[in-house]
Amino acid sequence: MADAVIVVALLLVAGSATAAVAVRDPVRQALVLAVLGVALAVLFTVLQAPDVALSQLAVGSVLTPLLLLLTVRKVKRRGQRKGREQ
């Protein structure tokens, strides 16, 4: 039973990680990265590492996507300004 749960969690991680690489738009990539963070947190919990799971949840699925989204916004804003001036 425990092994089955571990296999499912591993498949979830592999699936979402592949999706994160396959998606090319940075905004969507940030969201998929958040999903990957949750999948990794589930995997760590199943493997009896709740401390690491908490870190993963806080950093991997909240902080990193947030920083990515803010960076994308900054870059897009700069592009729009340049477009207006031309």
């Binding site: 092994d3 709740p50 401390d51 806080a58 947030l66 916004r73 700069r78 300004r81």
Partner: protein, 246 residues
């Protein structure tokens, strides 16, 4: 060096690394076995010092020096961010206009904010007892504050988040960790050795000697560092604009 030699060099280095990694993996114990030599010793050491969460004992007692290094990495990274993302001479600040927030979003953000903040503080405070600790709780508490940006607007966030004070808090917390370590050196045996304070009653908030102190210092350091980091990114994304005509 021409292209061919470079390719050979990379192939030799990569091949050697691959062989060594495979050889090392073949010697690993099987997945999910019953023998955990390191785990058994870590649990014994943590119980002997009345620390209920073995991970906290490993982080803040047995390997407190490692944690000092990790904290310094975060501190240096945030410092680098503050320097890189400062407002340069050809940029100016444009006050962002307050925008309408959809009522369900506002309600959700304002209900979840205190809950998330309290959860973060709880996770920091109980780091030596249950899963979690300064690092995890610090990130949760710091990101929880930013729900105010979702629920209200950027100005409301700026009001409860004076960045200067958080920068000071970051530095104070980092030095608190080092000072606790020095106190261990002066009053006890070695730098960051957990021998100065009484170990207390097992599974209470004050148990574990210096573990709760170091845990709290890390919690404050991480929370302040994340707030400063997000503030710099938000500044760039929302406020700072390049001067036109450049």
């Amino acid at each position: 060096m021409n292209r061919r030699t470079r390719l050979w060099l990379v192939a030799a280095g990569g091949g050697g690394l691959a062989v060594l990694l495979v050889a090392a993996c073949l010697e690993l114990p099987a997945f999910g076995g019953a023998s955990h030599p390191y785990g058994d010793r870590a649990v014994r050491a943590s119980l002997s010092r009345h620390t209920a969460n073995t991970i906290a004992s490993v982080n803040f007692d047995q390997r407190a020096y490692d944690t000092l290094g990790e904290m310094t990495i975060l501190f240096a990274a945030v410092l680098g961010c503050v320097v890189l993302l400062r407002q340069t001479r050809d940029e100016h600040r444009a006050r962002p206009e307050p925008e309408e927030v959809a009522p369900p979003v506002r309600r959700y953000a304002l209900v979840v904010l205190p809950v998330a903040l309290l959860t973060g503080l709880y996770v920091i405070a109980h780091g030596q007892l249950s899963p979690g600790g300064g690092f995890q709780g610090g990130v949760v508490a710091a990101t929880a504050l930013h729900l105010l940006y979702l629920g209200a607007d950027y100005r409301a966030l700026e009001r409860i988040r004076p960045v200067g004070r958080y920068e000071v808090g970051d530095a104070v917390a980092a030095s608190a960790y080092v000072i606790t370590g020095l106190a261990c050196l002066i009053g006890g045996t070695a730098f960051l050795a957990n021998t100065v304070l009484p170990y207390g009653t097992f599974n209470t908030l004050s148990s574990g000697g210096t573990v709760p102190l170091l845990n709290a210092a890390i919690g404050m350091e991480v929370a302040c560092a994340v707030v400063v980091l997000l503030a710099r990114f938000l500044d760039q994304a929302v406020e700072i604009e390049e001067e036109s005509g450049k």
